[in-house]
Structures are given as structure tokens and as C-alpha cells.
């Protein structure tokens, strides 16, 4: 018996790949794992508790490109930008204590916008945990609410398996940020490690729920019976890499489709069924007709309050079909009549097969007629202003004309963000990088750096307000040092414009601390050896934008726009989407 068993074991071993082992430190095991996961770019900042990893990195610089940012928040936003344009997992290194706490805003942003990240933080020696050692913070507990998963490693032997789990969790199912906190002793500890194995199964974790054909059929029946169906899509289409499946679905069913800002660019701007943007500053037709459609088909979106406005007056007349990979999203804000659980990459083709080929001309005409009204009252005056002051919209129109819609547009947060999302033209997916759920001012500049690394062959334009730019301007240093060819466009209205707009509309024009002064942005950029220019007159705008976009490397252009322009249309907070205001 013994010999038979021995033979059997030996037999299985020879059939497998010979297990390659290597002896080295936990830090080396980590870097080997990153390479095995296909990582090529890391955004990070060294410090005491992560020094062994940086020491090992010294020998890996031919295989791993490390971008030294100027602040850990900049590092994590850069990794987010990278993940958003590349579709890969963004990787961040930071040290313990302040290094780790500086990641928190980015983690929260990535969590709410479902961005796949793996963050590695150094931690004090395991024997010092809980002693209030120098630069010790309880990173695991601080980051628990803002990570999809986190784990503290105190023994190097755990590193390969934990890293493999981290990548699997970050990118599978509904993606999200993962943090691994590694104590310094584990980084230093020398072990014999087995060959790195990627993770593809965790027993307690179901990345995507099982698809039920019954509900696909129910959804199709509702859609086929609908006279005025309306599709809302979000980032789920992009995260699921389901752009083609989505396009096939709307083209066969002939249903008009509107996007959340996270879903923008999943289909081209000029697709005939793309009827525009949803939400507080979205387009007129999509908001009003949400309350007139008979079947609402929500795909990979989560009914954020900025999209729905007042919930008890939201699409009450409609049957709701909701497709989402995350079961917790279905019925969370809006009760679904049919919930289709699953990855839309898989569910959409099943649904497309069952829906009848249709066109909804009369219904589409309603969107067009609302669009006409919006064009006349809002869009044309914004894009072709008659007054002396420049508008943000006309800057965007010029960018569209120069790039043809091929650029990646990264935005910060505020009025310029809404204007950019409303007016930027996109021809391909993964082109709109914005902080949607968290609304993080200071996101734009570092995210644009990462976006450029994620899409090196594309033009990356960061559109940022004068307020948001002043939250993370230190990343100009990263651009200077690493030469990321980012085009930085500051739309300067000398106000914290969105807050000012609310104060004007809802607080009797009591402008409380929204008047913000700025440094000489052109001189600031030049001090970082970045080419820069300022435009104050419309006559110079087009040429200045062309210079910026055609410039070889990074470039900063400041455009002085009207001080008190407002973004319209607008669904005032607490109002129904059908109460959207054109002025």
C-alpha cells in the first residue's frame, strides 16, 4: 500500500510543472509577485517602514517602473487614473503612519467608483504593533470602511498567497481597492518561496452572482412590451469590458440610452441612440423623460442621488429592470421589478438574443425635441457665447474640434467637471476619468499623470478648476521628474464655482468663502520647467489650445473664464428629475 501511494504521489508530481522555488526576502517575493501579476508601473513614496521593499526595488528597476510622486494622495489618484484608462490594476506603495493615512481619500474614491487598486503599505515591526511606535497607525482599521478587502501580513511566508488574493479580489466582480499592510520584519524575513500562483477562487467570495435565465426572460418580456423604453448605463459597462455587448443590445432593441458620468464614453458621443447625460447637471430630455418612460433598463449603474434626484418622485410610472454584478445594488435605492444579477458582459448578450429588433422613432423624437430646446436655451449660448467673457463650454468645444474626440479627458471636481462631462466628445471607451462618487477635489492632476501611463499613446488633457488645482499642485514635480506628457488646462473663474453657484441660487447670493485667489499658475508651472501659457481673450483661445495639445511634452494652459457663470440645466437638490431647470 505504501509503495502504491508513493508512486501515485510521485506520478502527480511529475505531471505538474516542476515547482520553481526561490530563496529571498519577503520584499523580493512581493516584487516577484507583482511581476507575475503583469504589473509594470508602481506609484509610490518611500519611508522608514517600507524601506526593505524599496531596497529590493533597486534591483528590479529594469522590470518595474516606479513613479516617485510628491504626496501619497497623489500616488493613489495616479494609480486610479492608470487603472481607469488601462483597465488594469493600479499599484501603490506607501510607508506606514502618515504615508498610509494619506491614502485614505484615494481609497474612498476608488471604493465608491469601483476602481481596482492594490496598495502596499509598510508597517512597523510586528513586535512593535500596539506600542505606539514611531509612524505606527492602525492602518487596517482606518482603511476597513474604504477597501474591498485588506490584510496585515506579519510573516513573509504569507506574502505570495496574500498578494495573489489581493489582485484577484481587486479586479474580479465589482472591482475595488485592496490594501496589504506588511510589517517590516516580514519584508526582511528570508524564506524559501514556491513559484507564484495566481488566485482564481476564494471559497467565501463570489465575484459574480449566478445568472438566471428566468430573469433574463422576464426582462426581455418587459422590454418587448414597452412602448417607451429607456436605458440608463453606468461604469459597469466599461468595467465589464462590455461595450460591444452593450452597443449590440441598444442597436437591436432601438432603445435610447443615457449615461451616468461614470459610464460616459462606453459608447461614442455621436452614436444615434446616445441621448446624453443623466443627473443633476445632465441633459434635459433624459431627466424629464425618466419620468415618462414605461420601462427603465438600468445597466451597471447604482442610482446615485445625483442621478435620481428626489427618489419618491423618480420613475414611479415605469417598470424597472436593473442589471448589476453586485446584488447589494439591486433594490438598494430604486426597487427593481426585475433584477438581473450578473456581469453585464454575460447578461447583455442573453438579453439581446431575446429582445425584438425595434426602432422607437416617435419616442426618440421626444428626446430630440427636448434636446432642441436645451440647445437653444443652454448649449448654444454656452458653446458660442456672445458676451465678452469666455465660457468653459467654448473651451470644451474648441478641444473637441482640435482632438476630434480622441483625447482622454481627466477632470477635477466642480463646475468645470460638469461642463467637461456635458460637452466633451468621446470616440472610444475609457476616455473620461473623473471622481464621480466621492467628488474629490485635487483628483485631476495626479489622476491625469496615471491616465497617461495607462494610455501612453493617447493625448491626455486634465481639465481642472483654480480651486481643485491648488489642492494637489505638488504633482507638477512628478510631471517634471518623469516627463508625463499631460496637458493641464486650468479653467480659472477666480471662485470655487460650484459652491458659489449654490450660494447664488439657494443661499441668497451670500458668497461665503468661495472667493479664492490663485498664484501665477504660469510662473508656477515654469518653476517646474513645464511650458505654460495664459489666455485672457477669446481671440487667442484656439491657437493657445492648439499649441498646448500639439506640444511634445507636458504643458499648462490657464484660461480665464467668466467669474459667475452657472452650470445648467440643473435638478435642484430635493427636486424630482422632471423638475430640471434650464436656467
Amino acid at each position: 500500500m505504501e509503495t502504491a501511494q508513493d508512486l501515485a504521489v510521485a506520478g502527480t508530481e511529475t505531471r505538474q510543472e516542476p515547482a520553481k522555488t526561490f530563496t529571498g526576502s519577503g520584499s523580493q517575493a512581493l516584487l516577484n509577485g507583482l511581476i507575475a501579476e503583469g504589473v509594470s508601473t508602481i506609484f509610490g513614496y518611500p519611508g522608514g517602514a517600507i524601506m526593505p521593499i524599496y531596497d529590493a526595488l533597486y534591483d528590479y528597476s529594469d522590470r518595474l517602473e516606479h513613479i516617485l510622486v510628491r504626496h501619497e494622495q497623489g500616488g493613489i489618484h495616479a494609480a486610479q487614473g492608470y487603472a481607469r484608462t488601462s483597465g488594469k490594476v493600479g499599484v501603490v506603495f506607501a510607508t506606514s503612519g502618515p504615508g498610509a493615512t494619506n491614502l485614505v481619500t484615494g481609497l474612498a474614491d476608488a471604493q465608491i467608483d469601483s476602481t481596482p487598486l492594490v496598495c502596499i503599505t509598510g508597517q512597523v515591526f510586528a513586535h512593535l504593533l500596539g506600542t505606539d511606535a514611531f509612524q505606527e497607525t492602525d492602518v487596517i482599521n482606518i482603511t476597513t470602511p474604504v477597501t474591498k478587502w485588506n490584510y496585515q501580513v506579519t510573516d513573509a511566508k504569507e506574502i505570495p498567497e496574500v498578494l495573489a488574493k489581493a489582485f484577484y479580489i481587486a479586479k474580479s466582480g465589482r472591482p475595488g481597492p485592496v490594501l496589504i499592510d506588511i510589517t517590516k520584519n516580514a519584508q526582511l524575513q528570508v524564506e524559501e518561496f514556491a513559484a507564484y500562483r495566481k488566485c482564481n477562487h476564494i471559497r467565501s467570495y463570489r465575484p459574480a452572482p449566478q445568472i438566471r435565465q428566468e430573469f433574463i426572460a422576464e426582462a426581455a418580456a418587459l422590454i418587448n412590451a414597452a412602448k417607451q423604453p429607456f436605458v440608463l448605463f453606468g461604469q459597469g459597462v466599461i468595467l465589464g469590458k462590455a461595450e460591444q455587448e452593450f452597443k449590440a443590445f441598444i442597436e437591436k432593441s432601438g432603445i435610447p440610452a443615457a449615461w451616468t458620468i461614470m459610464g460616459e464614453s462606453a459608447i461614442p458621443t455621436d452614436h444615434p441612440l446616445n441621448v446624453g447625460m443623466l443627473g443633476m447637471h445632465g441633459n434635459y430630455g433624459p431627466n424629464v423623460l425618466t419620468n415618462e418612460c414605461d420601462v427603465l433598463i438600468a445597466i451597471g449603474m447604482r442610482f446615485d442621488d445625483r442621478v435620481t434626484g428626489r427618489l419618491d418622485k423618480y420613475a414611479k410610472q415605469a417598470k424597472i429592470v436593473h442589471l448589476d454584478i453586485d446584488p447589494a445594488e439591486i433594490d438598494k435605492n430604486v426597487k427593481a421589478d426585475v433584477g438581473v444579477w450578473g456581469d453585464c458582459k454575460a447578461t447583455l448578450p442573453l438579453l439581446t438574443a431575446l429582445v425584438e429588433a425595434r426602432s422607437h422613432d416617435a419616442w426618440l423624437e421626444r428626446f430630440r425635441s427636448y434636446n432642441k430646446e436645451e440647445q437653444d436655451q443652454v448649449i448654444t449660448p454656452e458653446l458660442y457665447p456672445q458676451g465678452k467673457e469666455m465660457t468653459m463650454g467654448e473651451v470644451l468645444r474648441n478641444i473637441n474640434e482640435i482632438t476630434g474626440g480622441d483625447a482622454v479627458i481627466v477632470t477635477d471636481v466642480g463646475q468645470h467637471q460638469m461642463v467637461a462631462c456635458r460637452y466633451a466628445k468621446f470616440n472610444q471607451s475609457r476616455s473620461n476619468v473623473t471622481s464621480g462618487g466621492l467628488g474629490t477635489m485635487g483628483f485631476g492632476l495626479p489622476a491625469a499623470i496615471g491616465a497617461k501611463y495607462g494610455a501612453p499613446d493617447r493625448t491626455v488633457i486634465a481639465i481642472i478648476g483654480d480651486g481643485g488645482f491648488q489642492m494637489t499642485p505638488q504633482e507638477l514635480g512628478t510631471i517634471m521628474q518623469f516627463g508625463a506628457a499631460v496637458k493641464i488646462l486650468i479653467l480659472n473663474n477666480r471662485f470655487l464655482g460650484m459652491v458659489r453657484q449654490w450660494q447664488q441660487l439657494f443661499h441668497d447670493k451670500r458668497y461665503s468663502f468661495v472667493n479664492i485667489t490663485s498664484p501665477d499658475f504660469v510662473a508656477l508651472a515654469k518653476s517646474y520647467y513645464i511650458e505654460a501659457n495664459r489666455v485672457e481673450e477669446r481671440t487667442n483661445l484656439r491657437a493657445a489650445l492648439e499649441t498646448m495639445i500639439n506640444h511634445e511634452g507636458s504643458y499648462l494652459l490657464e484660461v480665464m473664464v467668466g467669474k459667475e457663470n452657472n452650470v445648467f440645466p440643473m435638478v435642484p437638490q430635493g427636486c424630482s428629475v422632471s423638475e430640471i431647470r434650464l436656467k
Partner: protein
Amino acid sequence: MSTQTISGTSENEHGKEEYTITVYAENRIGLLNRIAIIFSKRKINIESLNTSPSEIEGIHRFNIVIHESAEVVRKLARQIEKQVEVLKVYYNTNNEIIWQELALYKVSTDEIAEKVTVERLLRQYGASAVVIRKDYTVFAVTGHREETDALVKALEPFELIEFVRSARVAIIKDSAGFHEKLKEFEAMEPGEEVIENEYLDKGDKIFTM
């Protein structure tokens, strides 16, 4: 004292009811916090929380009692089940479970010896003596909240020195246990028992989440 108000309100108050949430999860440091913040984020108070081993080695079972509407509880259950290290979440009203809490009462031994009423009380509540010393005696009662609370009230006139009550532990009446399910969880392609879709009506079976 706040516990008494809780025990009295298992009836409706804006559709709220007492629910027992049962969580099967990996036994991992930090998971308790991850679960607890799902409640605290929404400013929902946990009335009772117990963690214990389950019928399967290596898998932990949490019992969480909250007073909320069915809709809120369903959303909470989904948020908990979404956590990477959670295998499955069930939630049940009180008539769907068997539950117990353990209470300990420390009373002066003299009082018991002198007063016949105390002895009768203890019998009446099914209390058992855990420790008997010259100076004090410790009694234990297992039962529902109302039962253990009632004895506190009854003992108040007789010098109740100390009182403590455990969290609720609960067994789901309609559950067939977790052994079979775990096999499915461990499989690469789980069957429909594991990935349940509540839109698929499975009748009264508790196993539909």
C-alpha cells in the same frame, strides 16, 4: 435598563421588528470590525452580538440582533454577504428561530437562606445554582430576554449584587446546516444553492435570502 425597553418592543414601530442575522464567515482578524461598521455607518444599533464556532470547523457563526424593518435588514444582509470573507447571511424573525440567552445573578446567600420567597422565585424561573458560598450565591438562567429580565425585576427587593446577560445565540428552525453548502462554496462552479437569487421564489424556505 435600556435593555428592558428593547425587550418590550418586538411589535411594530414603523414596521420595525426584531431580526436575528446569522452570518457564516471565515474566522479572520478584523472581520468583526468590517461587519460592525456596516451597522454603525448607517447609525443602526446592534442589540446583541455573538460570535462562536459553527457546526463546521474553521467557520465562524455570528448572531446579530437588531430592531429594524424587513427592508433595512435585507439591505444590511446583502452588504454583509458582499464582504470577501463572509460565506452566507440569513436573517430571521423571532418565530423562525430558536434562541436563548444566558443570565447570571449574584445574590447574598443570607438573603436566600432567610427568605423563602427567594427560593420560590428561583424555582419558578428555572434558575440553577452555579456557585454557592457563605457570602453569595450565583444563579444561572437560560431563556428569552423577557424571562431573564423578569427575574431581575423579581430579585430587585432581595439585594441583587450583580447581574450579567450574554448575547443571543440562535438556531434557524428551517436550516439544514451548512455542511452541504460549504462543499458548493469550495467548488469552482457553485450550484444555485449557493448563489441564490431572491427573485426566484423558493416558497417558505428560509434559505432564500
